[in-house]
């Protein structure tokens, strides 16, 4: 009902040249918002600028770097992608950078995809069906979420070791194993989040579709999921970025150099005492940021909607 009202109210505003529509706010009254926004932008971009500068200069250490690079070079990028490292002093594992990128993309994409799908299925059930154990299930999920996944690292390690002896695809040092662990880790909070969103989609829509002749699966895929697109986008993006940043579990489960994800691999650049490679490191993270930025731009429209959940139109 309220949703209908909102949209109804939105129609006249959408028409151009309505005299009664809200006036555009005067700059005199809103200048401070712009100031705040610009400060926020500068603060956010400052580290990025630093990294970019480090990536495009030849300087191997951070000490001598400056915000504005004196002479630009692509050496750092070349080093990342040149196997054999004949001319550089980079450690041999640098040549695995392309593998890390690929691994990370595989793990992040599949984790994001399956998180969204599994989460949506569970959330839909929790939102729409009344079954025995529903309350307990929801509470259980919440409870599990209260413990940080780090606490479970040892247990996860042991479980993966043992599962791996039976199911080789899930063994240590496999990407699939890592994906499964990631999927379990964030599921509960996502289910809660999505359930909250599904609850705002009027049940009449489901019922209407059922009367129209839709099976439960058709209701889910044809009506509920499309309407939940914003929240799916947000969850997908968050889990993608989450995987991109995750270090501890990946470092425990992945061992061989070629199997590492970016955070684990990149750490190799800077944790050696005598040969820190800030230049290639900066170049590496800069590249790693590209998919996230692309994803953000792609999903921007949904994300704004998804974060202001509850605005599904009835």
């Amino acid at each position: 009902m309220t949703a209908i009202d909102q949209t109804a109210a939105a129609i006249p505003a959408a028409r151009p040249a309505t005299k009664t529509g809200p006036r555009r706010p005067k700059l005199r009254d809103t200048w401070w918002r712009h100031v705040v926004a610009w400060i926020a932008i500068v603060v956010a971009l400052f580290p990025v600028a630093y990294i970019a500068s480090a990536a495009f200069t030849g300087n191997p250490s951070l000490a001598g770097s400056s915000l504005i690079p004196r002479h630009l070079t692509l050496d750092n990028f070349k080093k990342l992608f040149s196997p054999g490292n004949s001319t550089t002093d980079i450690t041999s594992n640098a040549s695995n950078y392309p593998h890390w990128i690929l691994n990370t993309l595989i793990v992040a994409t599949s984790t994001a995809f399956f998180t969204v799908m599994l989460g949506a299925l569970a959330a839909y059930a929790f939102s729409r069906f009344r079954f025995r154990g529903r309350r307990m299930g929801m509470l259980g999920l919440l409870l599990v979420q209260m413990f940080p996944q780090m606490l479970a690292v040892v247990a996860i390690y042991l479980i993966v070791v043992h599962t791996g002896t039976v199911f080789h695809v899930l063994a240590l040092n496999t990407l699939t194993g890592l994906i499964i662990v990631y999927l379990g880790g964030v599921m509960s909070v996502n289910v809660w989040f999505m359930k909250g969103f599904f609850d705002t989609i009027p049940a009449e829509l489901d019922e209407s579709a059922r009367v129209d002749g839709a099976s439960p699966a058709q209701v889910f895929w044809g009506v509920v999921l499309p309407l939940a697109a914003p929240v799916l986008a947000v969850i997908g993006l968050f889990s993608f970025v989450g995987v991109l940043n995750e270090f501890i579990i990946a470092s425990v489960l992945l061992q061989s150099d070629k199997k590492l994800t970016l955070p684990v691999g990149m750490r190799g650049f800077i944790d050696q005492q005598f040969s820190q490679h800030w230049g290639p490191f900066a170049a590496g993270v800069l590249i790693a940021a590209v998919p996230v930025v692309i994803l953000f731009m792609f999903l921007q429209r949904f994300i704004v909607e998804g974060l202001t959940a509850g605005s599904v139109k009835g």
Binding site: M1, A8, S208
Partner: protein
């Protein structure tokens, strides 16, 4: 096309609330049945049981020759229009209307044709590419109708489909829904809490109260021959005037004594309602419709007996007629039936009514011709059309008709 039958249907919700008691209804093929009653009386529940959205706790519902108790909504071949329309926001108007056909794997060409047909019938042709949120309330309502008619189901179910529209549009859509239903001849069950809507739209109207069917009849019969006090006060606007009256025998005939005044009961009326003689010496609820009252100064031949005198407290000039609120002595009927039936009453008015009951004063509303010049504080005579008086048992609330 099919008829719909409820047989002793009960509905008990999981939380123990019983929403429908022993409901038996017979809706003929092609008929427009309106389920009406105050909010919370179980209308929606009854409708949803036909749709298959709510389990039937006991009894059977059949559509045509099939008992549908255990069928899914899809198998029942019905269409439903929801109160808030329940349009799919992510689909265009055309896709909304086509949704059900596509699910049934109807050939593309047929879908196209049928959507065009429905859109023409409802005047939606130019809006087919729009999204629901780009439509006005009335247009959305039409889309919801379109989604229902396009599949040509056996039964239409509508749950207060007009309650989100403004008054003018509601009147217009009322006529339009009636027209479409007649044109298609599809059996329709229509739920509303608005008795005017019920009376203007239904071939038959079923009045419900607290989950129980009170009376199912044609609008005319419901109005002229209500079965009990609840129906009497629920149907009609303004409501039926109800006052306590003592039945006494006088000169071989019956007389109803209201406060310190008397109304003779015509012989035909008392012979048509033989049970009335059993009430001699007792109190009953006497009912008078507003249009049975007329300003006596405008009536030539006024038979002197059929008059009530009172003081005008309020007049409402409606142009075509004049509603006069006239206070007279006599105890108003304030049983639960009446209070619940007279849904137009607000809380303050209910309190007022209770106070008047204590003071043995009652207010009648008369529907006078517009020429009447009664003004507040005038003491006037009203001529009563006693042929149509109604009598109800004060205890049971039932109409007093044939023998016990």
């Amino acid at each position: 096309m099919a008829d719909v039958r409820f047989e002793d249907v009960d509905k008990v919700y999981d939380n123990g609330v019983q929403a429908v008691f022993d409901l038996s209804l017979n809706i003929q093929d092609g008929e427009f049945l309106v389920l009406v009653g105050p909010s919370g009386c179980g209308k929606t529940t009854a409708l949803r049981m036909v749709a298959g959205l709510e389990e039937i706790s006991d009894g059977t519902i059949s559509i045509g020759a099939r008992v549908v108790n255990d069928l899914t909504p899809k198998e029942r071949d019905i269409a439903m229009v929801f109160q808030n329309y329940a349009l799919y926001p992510h689909l265009s108007v055309g896709d909304n209307i086509a949704f059900g056909l596509r699910l049934r794997k109807t050939p593309k060409k047929t879908v196209e044709e049928r959507v065009q047909w429905a859109a023409r019938l409802l005047g939606l042709t130019q809006y087919l590419d729009r999204r629901p949120k780009e439509l006005s309330g009335g247009q959305r309502q039409r889309v919801a109708m379109g989604r229902a008619i396009v599949r040509q189901p056996q039964v239409f179910l509508m749950d207060e489909p007009l309650s989100n529209l403004d008054a003018k549009l509601r009147v217009q859509m009322r006529a339009e829904i009636g027209r479409i239903q007649r044109e298609l001849g599809t059996t329709t069950i229509y739920v509303t809490h608005d008795q005017t809507e019920a009376m203007t739209m239904g071939d038959h109207v079923a009045v419900m109260r607290k989950g129980e069917l009170q009376q199912m009849d044609t609008p005319q019969k419901l109005y002229s021959d209500p079965k009990n006090l609840f129906v009497a006060s629920f149907i009609g606007s303004p409501s039926m005037n109800l006052v306590e009256a003592q039945i006494v025998r006088q000169n071989g005939g019956l007389v109803a004594r209201i406060g310190d005044q008397e109304l003779p009961v015509p012989g035909e009326l008392s012979s048509a309602r033989p049970a009335l003689t059993g009430y001699v010496g007792r109190k009953v609820a006497l009912g008078v419709r507003p249009e049975q009252l007329e300003d006596a100064s405008l009536v030539r031949d006024g038979a002197n007996g059929n008059r009530l005198r009172g003081r005008v407290v309020l007049t409402e000039a409606l142009g075509s007629e004049l509603l006069a609120h006239v206070e007279l002595s006599g105890k108003p009927v304030v049983t639960d039936d009446v209070l619940e039936g007279a849904v137009e009453l607000e809380d303050a008015m209910v309190d007022d009514l209770a106070q008047k009951a204590d003071e043995e004063r009652t207010t009648f509303i008369g529907r006078f011709v517009a020429a009447s010049d009664v003004r507040p504080d005038h003491v006037i005579d009203m001529v009563v059309d006693t042929e149509k008086l109604q009598f109800f048992d004060l205890e049971t609330g039932n109409a007093i008709r044939a023998g016990e």
